[in-house]
Symmetry: C2
Subunit: 597 residues, 2 copies
Amino acid sequence: MSEYRAPVRDIKFVLDHIVDLASLADIPDFSHVDPDTVSGLVDEAARFMAEVVAPTNRIGDSVGSQRNADGSVSTPEGFKKAYEQYVSSGWNAVKSDPAYGGHGFPASVGIAVQEMLTASNMAFSLCPMLTMSAILALENHGYEEQKATYLPKLISGEWTGTMVLTEPEAGSDVGALRAKAEPADDGTWRIFGTKIYITWGEHDMADNIVHLVLARAPGAPPGTKGISLFIVPKFLVNADGSLGERNDVTCVSIEHKVGIHGSPTCVLAFGEGDGAVGYLIGEVNQGMRCMFTMMNDARLHVGLEGLGIAERSFQQAAEYARVRTQGRAIGTPPTESSPIVEHPDVRRMLMTMKASTEALRALLYDNAKAIDLAHRHPDEAVRTANSGRAGLLTPVAKAWGTDLGVELTSLGIQIHGGMGYVEETGAAQHWRDSRIAPIYEGTNGIQAIDLVMRKLPMDGGAVVHGYLDEMAALERELAEATADLGTLHTELAEGIELLRNATEWLLSREDPNDVLSGATPYLRLFGTVAGGYYLAREALAARRLLAGNGDDPFLAAKIATARFYCEQLLPQAFGLVPAITANAGSLFAVDAAMLGT
Amino acid sequence: MSEYRAPVRDIKFVLDHIVDLASLADIPDFSHVDPDTVSGLVDEAARFMAEVVAPTNRIGDSVGSQRNADGSVSTPEGFKKAYEQYVSSGWNAVKSDPAYGGHGFPASVGIAVQEMLTASNMAFSLCPMLTMSAILALENHGYEEQKATYLPKLISGEWTGTMVLTEPEAGSDVGALRAKAEPADDGTWRIFGTKIYITWGEHDMADNIVHLVLARAPGAPPGTKGISLFIVPKFLVNADGSLGERNDVTCVSIEHKVGIHGSPTCVLAFGEGDGAVGYLIGEVNQGMRCMFTMMNDARLHVGLEGLGIAERSFQQAAEYARVRTQGRAIGTPPTESSPIVEHPDVRRMLMTMKASTEALRALLYDNAKAIDLAHRHPDEAVRTANSGRAGLLTPVAKAWGTDLGVELTSLGIQIHGGMGYVEETGAAQHWRDSRIAPIYEGTNGIQAIDLVMRKLPMDGGAVVHGYLDEMAALERELAEATADLGTLHTELAEGIELLRNATEWLLSREDPNDVLSGATPYLRLFGTVAGGYYLAREALAARRLLAGNGDDPFLAAKIATARFYCEQLLPQAFGLVPAITANAGSLFAVDAAMLGT
């Protein structure tokens, strides 16, 4: 009913023409990454995810992970076996450090594997995603002994990781957390406190779970400056690497959620007994800095959830629309009925899904490329520039990507008509699953604040100006291609100009409330225009290939899709400008007490 | 956790200033409808719905209606009792014919009661909604004997009604249905066939269920011209009005849906034995005409579901935003944390919810007023004009209203952060419940087709031109009020102009595929601009009242809300114009086979 076929050719097209994989091979760390190897890797991942992971998606939703009376958590049938195969096939290690058993592929290759994993089973994919966050924290901030103890098992996936931040009174405001860490005589710590919303906080797929926990040491200053980060393994690890005692951390309950039922979202109690044994990562009170290291990666991955699930929803809807007949399209003989894909309104929904997912894929992969260059390029100037670029794009990737995820999966339901509202069809699961992504890993409102308050002002605005200039530089090539690309370049140029003006407006405001008030519509404008830019680049690449290559419907579709996006979707964002530049006054003109009855 | 407080003052404000109730009292049929009576009715309905119906909403979702092994359906605890009280208090009869026990209130008063019922428990409200459709069909097309037999019980609500149209191969394309009707010797008919998606097709809240079933008589022409409408009661009715034999109709299964779990969506089998006894309504092959009679009413009601559920979601989110503290708004001392309602991004979401629901309420109630005038005004010219107006507004009310329902309830989740994704909070139920409304009673794509293909061309375009002129006529009064209303009238005037141009473009096209391709974005533009028009009228009314009335935060909020809508939300629709006028070519430029992988 809901098969997944990885969009292999689309993915490779983005790797070739947006990421430009060949250029990454110049970086010493990636000298082993030749395009043929990557192509084979993508093919193999596509096969594995579709055959092994994707079939677990429906049962994951209908049964869900369940907490047992003893505090253990059982995953749905098939999860454990799929995870074993995922680990034994090496998929968890794709982009990690070879020194600890990783395969050392760039993030911009890892993202292709992650996309396919996420599309196959979003709930399942969260477990490796959190493990990846733990790996990054340890790689960047762990002591050598900690790395040696935990990284090989986390990179292989034999052990999984969690990020343990949230408390009932500390969600978006991490600085409000109250979990306590007390130093023990032996240099370890004892952790006490209740944490909520811990994704894959307890489960039966791995031998051990490595919790990375934020807590306050004695005398810590208030707010984010007084937070430290600790390793708290579910089972303590003996000196020889074998598993020892069960640590003092228990799963008290799991949440009853709208979607991602396969992913256990846990309330974890630390230190109900003598205290959970914890090991400090980095320095005391430096926990937030450690968290920030992995945030770009995690947020990009959450944006990827929007893409993966929208792609799967799109595939299912397109297949349904080709098979389901109902009514007659204009010109169909009275005795026949038409596949609904021939009705303009259904076609509009499908084209919107196709164009938006492709725009989003390019943005996300380009974001991953910036992360690669920021971390691995030998030239410091390139590293610095791309660190800024990655920082700029990440909140857009996260928020625009996840908003699109919800909107596009909703179209996926709509195309199914009444069938879409019946759970067995599976179209609704995508929509329900997608709805968490605008919330976690920093709500989309937080992303918008991050974009306008921290990212735009970076380097005096130079980072965003560099990106705007890069977009505008496409103008000349586009103008030469009007015979094939229609008015695409006109709409795109207008979009870039509006985005530039809105950016200048935000950068010039003195009252931060005015900037904050325009943040969300600005992020939407940014994502929408950037999407047009990437699709235009793909259209130009397709045009070049077509010139020497006769007719290829895939390449022709790339051009037509870019045109549809720029001519029909991109202009919708232009109407956001008044909301961006309206100032705070109009948002606060109605008294809070008058909101609601 | 999820209380409902009916927005009584908002409702009365719309009844006073948009519907202009006082003017309806000039119509002989409504001579008994004085504003004081209506005001008391609204107050009493508000109390009843909040106290009796609203508390059943959560259990309706978490338990749902269940089919038993014998084919009966049990509703969730509390539904039966609430329905008994609903019937005994007379709420079902508000707008029905006094000749059969109704109270004869206008549709524009009935809609206020329906809004509050729907907001209290959407799944529950569908049962009376379907009964109302059956009542309308019988009032307009039933024989006297049929009216006498069924109307009193349906109007009181002691019996409920259903609309039985859909079959697996006949959804949007009703004309494809295959259920058979065979004449019996005694003038009755025998019905055979399986029907799906029958809302409240079987349940335990009423003594009898009156199914109105579409089927084909022998020799009927294909398509919609060969469909007849039959009464098929669950229990046959004896000559003395008492209930007789069980008819040959059984509930085979109920659907497992994304939301509205309290509402049993049934697969009904007719004629598994000797045939279900049916009674023809009107003439053979005139079934579609009978259906069209009630369609305006049913579609308006479905649009109202978007409003009711968005209003409830808004109330809950606003309340949460006032009490939940997290982070610090600009200017808050470091030792304090702010209620999230003080954060601009949260305020933007709440203002979007407030402004959109108020715009929608005004449009829907004005639509109901047009229905009243179309049916009851003594002057035929007024009836004709308002029949056109109601026809024009109905697809907009249905599709724009239900799209907003999904979008606004999604904001309601977002405001709750992580709590919004946990089912116990209740915010997610609204979103899941709302998702059916863009699908049933004619998908929103069908509504858009209806608008551009049937409604715009009515009377050579005179109906839509009349509405556009009415909107534009507000210009002068708005221009005089700029001191209080800011740039509201500028944006509204631009919106009306764009809508007018888009309308002319659609009316002038020769290729129907071009018109169909622009249908959905056009409907969105229409709704968005109309919403601005109604809020502007409300702002002008508030301004007049304020002039003689000092400061009243309710009235001040009306003005601020209209400004927010016109200055910040309305312009978003302007970007839809390119998609409306793009022609079909760009939608079909990508081959259907290239959609999806």
